[in-house]
Subunit: 246 residues, 2 copies
Amino acid sequence: MQRYFINKNVTENSIIIDDKNNCHHIKDVMRMSVGDKIIILTNDKKEYLCKIDSITNIVMLSILESNINNNELDCFTTIAHALVRREKKEEVLRRLVELGCSEYVPVEMERSIVKINKLNENIDRIHTIVKECSEQSERGLLMKVCNAIKFNNFINNYKDYDYKFVCYENSGRKDDYSLNNYLNNLKGKKILCVIGPEGGFSDNEINLLIDNGFVCIGLGKRILRTETAPLFIMSLISYQSGVKNV
Amino acid sequence: MQRYFINKNVTENSIIIDDKNNCHHIKDVMRMSVGDKIIILTNDKKEYLCKIDSITNIVMLSILESNINNNELDCFTTIAHALVRREKKEEVLRRLVELGCSEYVPVEMERSIVKINKLNENIDRIHTIVKECSEQSERGLLMKVCNAIKFNNFINNYKDYDYKFVCYENSGRKDDYSLNNYLNNLKGKKILCVIGPEGGFSDNEINLLIDNGFVCIGLGKRILRTETAPLFIMSLISYQSGVKNV
């Protein structure tokens, strides 16, 4: 059934959809009629099964059922990703939404090819991507996409986590076993994973991360690209906290 | 160090690179000179550290060291994927190579949007993608990309596996725990995972798969796209057989 995230309040028995994009999708893309059913999500893990009462320039719904969306992972994961080109970033965002990621932070690092002062981003486009992927993958919460920040600001502002990992290809394998220990104990945890740019972290960045309590983890013997590493680690977290324990 | 897969035999002390693409890359892209070192891979888990002796229309190398490439997973994984559009397929191929997949089989299913008789594929392009990704991710073997086949041929020809999984969103969660048991016992195993098209498997296909010994596995509560599911399952296999056990 078609799902729509809306950001307006909901009354006890009815919902009004008045934002352009959702109304357009219901009327012109899905060509729905009065009496059709849809699911409305309010970005607080609640979902409402609704019946369409009228379609004009707004859509009026009556609520048939309200439920808790149970599709979110039982941990909060922030992926901090080196700035990458727009197409790569959008591809990563799509996959991370499906895999249950909570938050995405683009970080300018020494060897990032893309720099903050040359960013030319369409924020509306990013929000549309996240919203549509969230609806399709049946999430109960929208992944938050933060504004890009510089590495030092990232280190200073992202401190309040239970686990802080840095995916580092030169970490050797000494910490891999500990990754397993962490993965077996994700419930209710706040997790932060940092992934470097195409050229890798600088020594200075790695030292700063370690000084700030980050644990170096390896992702196997092969070299993963900067756009693959987030999907790999998020797949493991998703499996451990969403599939394995069901 | 730059890596090149070649498909010619190697003598005891020297290697000749005579294929156009590798020669072009060494001469014109990397602008290498006599005395520079490169690594040659022969698609049999062997790798040779070499020194360039001469560069003309061919490249002559002397072997300094021969080693076993140790970056392959200790299991053999075939991903059988519903036919998808070319861009999606190429994206999936890139990721699967990095994650250590052994073989990729495109399968025409009832609800595949793309059909075999309308395929217009550039086989050279696919081989170049796999070769370059394998070199960059430091693999010792090239992932095999099979020709697209129809579902019934797939069922009849892919039988000789230790584990056969079908990723099925309606499987409920009853089999998830058993997935975990399989994942803990991958060493030396031949694994086959089937992933359906955008519209999902037909009932007929699911029944045929189950009749042929496939185990339905769920990939979590959210709905994964057909281009995300292969990366999810291959990440789990890669982690379990390549990272966790090191």
